[in-house]
Amino acid sequence: MAQVGAWVGAVITAPLRGFARLLDVPLRVWQRLAGQNGMAAFFLLPNMAIFGIFVLFPLGLNIAYSLTSGGALFLADRNFAGLGQYQRLLTCADYTNLLSCQEDQFWTALGNTALFVVVQVTALIVLATATALILNRELRARSFWRAVFFFPVLLSPVVVGLIWRWILDRNGVLNAGLVAVGLDPVNWLLDRNFAFAAAVGVTIWAHLGFFALILLAGLQAIPRDLYEAAEMDGTRPARVFWRITLPLLMPNMLVVIVLALIRAVQVFDEAFVLTGGGPGTATLFLTQYIYEVGFASLLKNPGLAAAASILMGGVLVVLTLLQLALGRRNERKAKLK
């Protein structure tokens, strides 16, 4: 039997061995010429090529567009404008009065996005942590509850936006319920604060399961004996959370924070379908501004849209680097202890 197994294995791997033999000689020659570091670069090349084509090249193209002006969409047909588009986005006569800014709606979108990031990411992380802690306990039908929290993640963002729109609309399900119990209907999405809160709430509902899952994986990796030792010492639950759970959850938490921040800065689809950026510009976020300027407007301005997206990308890079730096500092602290 073992002989048959070895024979089958040999047959299956034969093409691979043949291929490896074929590459052996040229690779040895290349290693002699390039050295060990050169070989590392050689093996990284396919990945870097994909990264270059699909990330670096479009990024370069975007930067090039941001330095041009005109109505033409082809780069070759556009006029070089230097930093003119950035200047247009960032110029205000009086920075305390948004209306004095050349592109006041860019600043409005920037302010809305900043507020959204702070509120949504904070609430999302608190709720995702609480959800993960609950789902980590010995609950009845635990798998069912995990599925319930994860289910919205499977929905398309447009579907999420539409579901909640049908609930919160003037003629929506919520108002039908209010009328049924004898109350007056409310035009929820025309209230600036409620519309903003709805955008925050709906995006949390849609992504909570994903982040809770990452944190749950982290919680399950924490050794049980630490909790048993704390229990024997009579440590209070809050202290256990702050001294054991949270520090050991930090690597996962860091991933969650970085991903949540990036997603929050890029908020678009669910919010756009739900509120359309309204009422007024109360939920106009940066990505929608870029979409409006670059694509939706009848007279499109790709240069301005590209400049706004480069600025947004810059903010994301800064935030990510900051998070990574904080993570490294925490790691170093933990090692010193």
Partner: protein, 420 residues
């Protein structure tokens, strides 16, 4: 599998994925039932022209608005497209003149709107209007009757209509008295009726004038006063288009200002739910103007098969085809011969439709020169966009009217400068 069969299979799979000589792709969107009518006509064209493979690509209106321009700028896209942003994209249209059997037929029957779809100063034949549209109002006659309020007659002003509709709304408990689609285009007829003229002496956009200010002030007041349905304009930002047709269809508003292209939509969806009538455009201080427009079927200059494209265009521009298309889609024809002969047999059992179409035909005589000039004016789009963007900010309480007017001027100026 023999080598021969493999080559054949490979060839077949390549044929399935690439366009062949003789293929003509037509990008088509529908507001109402015209997609179904078009499918029927395409089948007839194919039977008549077996050598030309006409492919009808039905897409959403948003695709035409947002993606077609990008395709065209890249020198790609369909061979023929149905568009409403006709003038802005005019540099991409094909001059069909050398490919047409009888260019004189086109100039005679479609010449009145030829400037709408070609660059300034050109005499090219690039396509034809599939229908003419005119902005105007619709009233829910049943709600007016139930409320005991008489429908305002010819010459009634915007104030008359809003006041009468507000009475109906109060009596019948509707969500609001009226709504106008969230669109700068839709706001323009009323602006012109109050004396607005968007075109400056140099052909560029003029600063916001007293006419636009007068109607904008009224509109904002009607939203603040609850007469105009707030959702349509306020529950969105930027230049996003929002129609209020569903609110009219669901009897949530007794009066709705949109345009003639809604007739088939209202007829299909309202059915015998209630009686409705077209009202034409309410009057302002300068007149009772709507804004003409429509959709054009245009040939794209990047086509590899201009001769076949011309054959397709000639088929759909035939007098009998235009007549049939108009009768079945309930669109106003843009063909001079069809319009002059009259006698269109509108194919509907809905008694509201024929009367509504007659009202729009009559209202076309009320279009003021300042409105008539706009479809062929290349800067109309930035003006429409800026109007809807800033006026809805005023309605949402984010700007004062004076600030909005200043912003409209600067937005337009920046867009004009950026487009150079």
């Amino acid at each position: 599998m023999t080598k021969h069969t493999m080559v054949l299979a490979l060839a077949a799979s390549l044929m399935a994925s690439t366009a062949l000589a003789g293929d003509v792709r037509m990008m088509w969107y529908s507001d109402g039932v015209e997609g179904e009518v078009m499918k029927d006509l395409v089948a007839r064209f194919k039977a008549e022209n077996p050598g030309i493979n006409l492919i009808l690509d039905e897409v959403a209106y948003k695709v035409v608005q947002e993606q077609l321009q990008i395709q065209l700028e890249a020198g790609q896209g369909p061979d023929i497209a149905r568009v409403t942003n006709i003038k802005t994209l005019a540099p991409h249209w094909l001059d069909l003149t050398p490919h047409l059997a009888d260019p004189a037929y086109w100039r005679t029957n479609f010449g009145a709107h030829a400037d709408w779809m070609r660059v300034d100063g050109s005499d090219a034949i690039t396509g034809f209007m599939t229908q003419l549209t005119l902005t105007g109002g619709f009233a829910n006659a049943t709600l007016f009757e139930q409320a005991g309020v008489a429908l305002p007659g010819k010459g009634a002003t915007w104030d008359d209509w809003v006041n009468a509709s507000a009475e109906v709304a109060k009596s019948q408990g509707t969500a609001a008295a009226f709504a106008i689609d969230r669109s700068g285009h839709r706001m323009t007829g009323p602006n012109v009726s109050y004396g607005a003229n968007y075109i400056g002496a140099d052909g560029k956009p003029a600063p916001v004038d007293a006419g636009t200010k007068a109607f904008a002030e009224k509109l904002v007041g009607w939203v603040a006063g609850g007469q105009m349905l707030k959702d349509t304009w306020v529950a969105a930002s930027g230049s996003t288009y929002r129609a209020a047709a569903d609110d009219f269809i669901n009897a949530q508003i007794p009066f709705y200002y949109s345009g003639s292209w809604q007739i088939a939509n209202l007829s299909t969806k309202i059915g015998d739910g209630f009686d409705w009538v077209a009202t034409g455009s309410p009057c302002g201080t300068a007149g009772c103007s709507g804004l003409a427009g429509g959709a054009a079927l245009v040939a794209v200059k990047y086509t590899a098969n201009p001769t076949e494209v011309a054959k397709v265009m000639e088929f759909f521009a035939r007098e009998e085809i235009v007549k049939e298309f108009s009768e079945r889609t309930l669109f106003l024809p843009a063909h001079a011969g069809v319009a002059a002969k009259g006698g269109l047999n509108w194919q509907t059992a809905d008694k509201n439709v024929g009367a509504a179409l007659d009202v729009f035909v009559a209202a076309s005589a009320d279009i003021l020169p300042a409105a008539a000039a706009l479809p062929a004016w290349k800067w109309a789009s930035p003006v429409y966009g800026a109007l809807v963007n800033r006026i809805s900010q005023v309605m949402a309480g984010e700007l004062k009217l004076d600030e909005a007017f200043a912003k409209i001027d600067s937005d337009i100026a920046e867009q004009v400068a950026a487009a150079k």
